[in-house]
């Protein structure tokens, strides 16, 4: 199912963990859609000196997190801001079609962490990360079509954009 690069990052994920005194933290996803990814940044002189991740998710979600941290480490904030989902997927030499949404999470989490870092620098008060609880009403949450990556409502059974059925395969 996955290529060797993806499996290598899944089996031996780089930069796993938490940075306790992080300069920026970004978290995306929720258990309703499948994956949760948290990125921790340590920034020195405008450069990402350390980056760590935690991920609840499938094989590609873990591989994407790992690859993202490898791409981002050592980069300046400006360079890191330019990292796209596509960059991560390409570095992994491709993901199965229905797993592309996982690569979305990686860059999104990084961008949120960068924003958090900048907000802190600017003295913007930081709301605590609020993870959506399972029992909360799910409508309006961001989920992405696993095939074409367009934003759709959680629990949708059909993607209008690419005409894919999103129902269970079994």
């Amino acid at each position: 199912m996955y290529n060797q690069t993806v499996m290598d990052h899944f089996r031996n994920p780089r930069n796993v963990g938490v940075i306790e005194d992080a300069d920026g933290v970004g978290e995306v996803g929720n258990p309703l859609c499948g994956d949760i990814m948290t990125i921790y940044l340590k920034v020195e002189e405008g450069r990402i000196r350390d980056i760590k991740f935690q991920t609840f998710g499938c094989g590609s979600a873990i591989a994407v997190s790992s690859m993202l941290t490898e791409i981002a480490i050592g980069k300046t904030i400006e360079e890191a801001r330019a990292i796209t989902n596509k960059d991560v997927a390409q570095a992994l030499e491709g993901l199965p079609k229905n797993k592309l949404h996982c690569s979305n999470l990686g860059a999104d989490a990084l961008q949120l962490a960068i924003k958090d870092y900048e907000d802190r620098l600017a003295g913007v008060s930081r709301p605590e990360i609020k993870r959506k609880e399972d029992h909360e009403h799910s409508h309006g949450d961001k989920c992405y079509c696993p095939y074409c990556d367009v934003e759709i409502i959680e629990g949708a059974t059909f993607c209008d954009a690419c005409q894919s059925s999103l129902e269970e395969e079994h």
Partner: protein, 393 residues
């Protein structure tokens, strides 16, 4: 080479050596068409009849001709549901089912809904069982069919088929049960159950995939799914897959002979797993009914981690398992079966389905538990949910 331990028999079971031999012999025989009237055709018809008799014995059908050979469980279910609906449309248009059925039933019914049939889907209780009283309440003068599965393919939980059959008989409503994961794994007796139709597949009991059976009680009104010739007592057109059917017949004979030992072996492995699991991992949910369940299946939701990751890591250790996480099925939604049990989305994501077979041993269970412990520890170390949960404690 690493030993591969199959704990995913619900997806595929190995063919018994006797089954392979009988199929190879059948290939060598160059059987003619069982419908042909010459002697070569008659020889083929005799082989077909022998297999039909063996399969009839497996489900204790009163007559061999109550067995229709199909291309597998999916076709059997499609045949039963659509065939009964179309044959009885003049009597009514209402069908009752449960909300934990396999998609073979769900999607057949959706197809029928688009053709004007009305469907009532019953909820299950927190243990995953349908209340027979709900079936009785749902029956109207328009009801022509009740379709409730014998065992659930994700949880292994058994449904109160006998009790439901008493109700449908009293109301003269046709009753079909999808027993694809039960037949050949545990005793299934159509006369004792009281069902009118029962679907099953051959690979469940170590016969070839691509062959299955549909039990149709004599006198039940059902149209063929495939129209054409008069094969299978006019219930399924097309020249029979005789090599596959012969393999299924052999598998049925062995299942009948060894049923008690088979059930005891499977149950020992399952009981061992359930008893020793707490020594290896914590914070999990067992979705399988403690009493009414298949002897070989355990559904296990492990908190804070996702099923596909677990599956991939166990695969690296040589253990084949199945998962019901949304990620793995390519949908964005957790399994409808698990959610109907009241499981949270996050917990449903960490669900493994383990299904034992006669080729498994007690040593396999111990080795699996050791591997599982390592995988769970590794993935929880990566998981933000686990860190948060442990921080709160």
């Amino acid at each position: 080479m690493m030993k591969i331990v199959n704990l995913d028999h619900i997806s595929a079971s190995p063919l018994l050596a006797e089954v392979k031999d009988s199929m190879i012999e059948a290939v060598r025989q160059d059987y003619h068409n069982p419908s042909s009237q010459h002697q070569a055709g008659e020889q083929a018809a005799e082989a077909l009849q022998r297999a039909r008799t063996s399969v009839a014995q497996l489900v204790n059908a009163a007559l061999p001709k109550e067995i229709v050979f199909t291309s597998g469980g999916t076709e059997s279910v499609n045949h039963a549901v659509k065939g009964v609906a179309l044959a009885n449309a003049a009597r009514g248009n209402h069908i009752i089912t449960s909300n934990i059925e396999h998609n073979a039933v769900n999607r057949s019914l959706r197809r029928l809904q688009s053709a004007g049939f009305k469907v009532t889907s019953l909820s299950v209780d927190s243990t995953g069982r349908v209340d027979p009283a709900d079936v009785a309440d749902a029956i109207t003068d328009q009801t022509i069919l009740v379709s409730i599965m014998h065992s659930n393919n994700e949880t292994g939980t058994l449904q109160p088929i006998e009790e439901i059959a008493k109700i449908t008989r009293g109301k003269k409503v046709i009753f079909h049960s999808d027993a694809v994961d039960s037949v050949g794994i545990m005793p299934v007796d159509v006369q004792k159950l009281g069902v009118d139709l029962l679907s099953f597949g051959s690979n469940t009991f170590y016969g070839p995939a691509g062959v299955g059976g549909l039990y149709v009680r004599r006198g039940t009104r059902v149209f063929p799914l495939l129209d054409g010739g008069v094969q299978e007592n006019n219930k399924r057109a097309g020249a029979e897959n005789l090599i596959g059917i012969i393999g299924m017949g052999t598998a049925a004979e062995i299942a009948v002979q060894g049923m008690d030992a088979r059930v005891a072996h499977l149950r020992r492995l399952k009981d061992k797993l359930l008893a020793e699991l707490p020594d290896y991992i914590d914070e999990y949910i067992i979705n399988t009914h403690p009493r009414y369940s298949l002897p070989n299946l355990v559904s296990l939701s492990i908190k804070y981690i996702e099923g596909e990751s677990v599956l991939l890591m166990l695969d690296d250790e040589g253990f084949l398992v199945s998962t019901r996480s949304a990620c793995a099925t390519g949908s964005l939604r957790a399994s409808h079966v698990l959610l109907s049990l009241g499981l949270s989305h996050a917990d449903a994501q960490g669900t493994l389905v383990l299904s034992f077979g006669i080729d498994n041993t007690a040593q396999d269970v111990t080795a699996f538990l050791t591997a599982l412990k390592n995988v769970v520890t590794t993935l929880r170390d990566i998981s933000p949910l686990y860190k948060k949960a442990t921080a709160q404690n």
